[in-house]
Symmetry: C2
């Protein structure tokens, strides 16, 4: 597979001389700093503290961390890792963040491949090389899938579309081209002149910090808004389309994404503005029937009580900080994937897409 | 009329020895500082920069500033102010903020009373005393109306109600008891155990800073949320009621209020949660037929691009900052006023309430 060229300084997860290097997304857009997450403990911290974030990026980062850990175990010891080793490292990484499924999917892929390599009875050096290469290939595969997904997305972007997006589903979140932002970026490169309203996305402000940064780098017209302004704009007929990413999609199409996505979907529904999700198939969790079974992560309430480290409320104030919400399938006009745009009834279209995908990979 | 006792340190506008003293609401909740706005220029700055904010508080503050200015004109000169003087000072104050109508209503009241006093041909010392007393009486009248409105509001607050409110419609905004928060405060004092989810209300965070402060001072259980979490909570059946204030209400009930109120009203409608406005009759603008005629103030985009003075996006990033939006009458279950709870059809109920009010005052 041909590697996709990425803009300088926009690659959230990279490997260099066997190390795993992350862009520290906590520091953007004010500084581009790198974070060495080769050690398992460092990667766990990086995921929890959101040095790396975005469901697909987390997945790839975790796959690399798991494979690097297995590689180093193999090279340091006198034998290949055991199944117990595989289970332990997977469990440790999976526990870092509960909502996005790409994490568990990615560690599951590494787990399965490592198990296969162990069965083959290859030497520990070969094992070490092959398992790390496998995760690096996953990264490249992700990039290709994002681009394919973005191409499929073009059919739903009208010329000069005014699009609202929430959080960051761009290069930083997805290890490459982007999903929601990938669709917009491809439309821009095609000369369709999209223009984006960017929800700031409280409490972590991934919209104002990351999405604005990516769009401005790509020269795509972007206007920052507070999350509570989306309804105002829709009511003024200033929005043609809403596209967001997703962190986990149930078998029936119910989609978990950054907190605020559900409110945006309800507003879009009320104003008859089409609401789309863009996500690779690794975001789907066919083992979960509906969105009610998706675990929602509650993060530290300091994220709400403080902004940029400064208190905006009172000592001892109570706050709530659900990091995600679930948008029910009936509010979603379509789900843009690398197997085309899935339409309702989702239980059927999702199953078909996953079957096709699995057929192509086998 | 008996003066209503207010909690220490919570009076946003006060007079002392002929001076007009404001709590500097920009500094809350971290510091209680006072701002002398006796001079007209100082008051204009205070309103524009939101030292004093909240439609009813702005109205009372402007009435006091106008009367103090006319008083000082009279005392400094050798004659009573002229009609041209009245027009000039009213125009200057009215130009400070365009959306809230209480400002124009209040300066109109002072204008009419000053005109009447001038016609009576009283001496300039008597004029000076009477015109300032008139504005001080308006302040007391406001307090009484807030309490009355809050009493009427009790009929729509169920026991142990979980209420969402947006922005600040408490003592600070309304020169006394509060409108939306007044209803909640009265319910709390009656032992109805309301519990409040407070929208932080970006970009100025009046929710996290002012509403949380007031509720915590009053011992009312309060939980701070980001504006984009309201839909999540409604979807979980954790909200029984939404109450907000208003900055201007058209003859048909369409209501302008802090940006985000409209989105909240749409969400409430979608989840069948009753959405109420609480506002004194001075907030109504019967000369405006529908909400589309209400001018929306656009404030400096730095309020969106920066949080607490720190940049959260990029140099040169574009942003949008409408300070208000308009909620159409069909999304409003009722408007709580000092003349009872107005119900649809609003064109009729609003006219009747304004007529009753005007009858009582004459």
């Amino acid at each position: 597979m041909e590697a996709i060229k990425l803009d300088e300084g926009k690659m959230p997860v990279e490997t260099k001389d066997g190390k795993i290097i992350l862009i520290d997304q906590r520091k953007l857009p004010h500084a581009i700093e790198y974070f060495d997450a080769t050690e398992l403990e460092k990667m766990c911290f990086a995921i929890v503290d959101m040095v790396v974030r975005g469901a697909p990026s987390i997945g790839v980062a975790a796959a690399l961390a798991m494979s690097a850990h297995l590689r180093d175990l193999a090279l340091a010891g006198d034998r290949q890792p055991t199944l117990a080793d595989l289970d332990a490292v997977k469990a440790k990484l999976d526990a870092t963040r509960p909502t996005a499924v790409n994490l568990k999917w990615a560690t599951g892929e590494v787990h399965a491949h490592a198990k296969k390599l162990i069965k083959e009875g290859i030497g520990k050096e070969t094992f070490a090389e092959k398992i790390f290469q496998f995760a690096q290939d996953m990264l490249q595969d992700h990039l290709a899938r994002n681009k394919k997904l973005s191409e499929f997305g073009q059919s739903i972007v009208p010329e000069s579309a005014r699009v609202i997006t929430h959080c960051n589903a761009g290069s930083l979140a997805t290890c490459g081209w982007g999903t929601a932002l990938g669709v917009i970026k491809s439309a821009h490169l095609k000369g369709l002149n999209p223009r984006v309203f960017v929800d700031e996305t409280r409490p972590r402000n991934q919209g104002s910090k990351l999405t604005m940064w990516e769009l401005m780098q790509d020269g795509i017209p972007a206007t920052l808004i507070c999350d509570n302004m989306a309804g105002y704009l829709m009511n003024k007929n200033e929005v043609d389309l809403v596209i967001t990413g997703a962190d986990r999609i149930a078998a029936n199409g119910d989609s978990a994404n950054k907190i605020g996505t559900y409110s945006l979907a309800v507003l879009a529904h009320h104003h008859d503005v089409p609401f789309y999700i863009a996500a690779p198939l690794s975001t789907f969790d066919p083992e979960i029937a509906t969105g009610s079974q998706i675990p929602i992560e509650f993060r530290n309430t300091d994220e709400v009580l403080q902004i940029e480290g400064q208190s905006v409320s009172l000592q001892g104030a109570e706050a709530l900080n659900p990091a995600f919400d679930v948008t029910p399938n009936h509010l979603i006009k379509g789900i843009i994937t690398e197997q085309g745009i899935l339409r309702p009834p989702y239980t059927q279209s999702i199953k078909e897409a996953l079957d096709r995908n699995s057929g192509e990979r086998n």
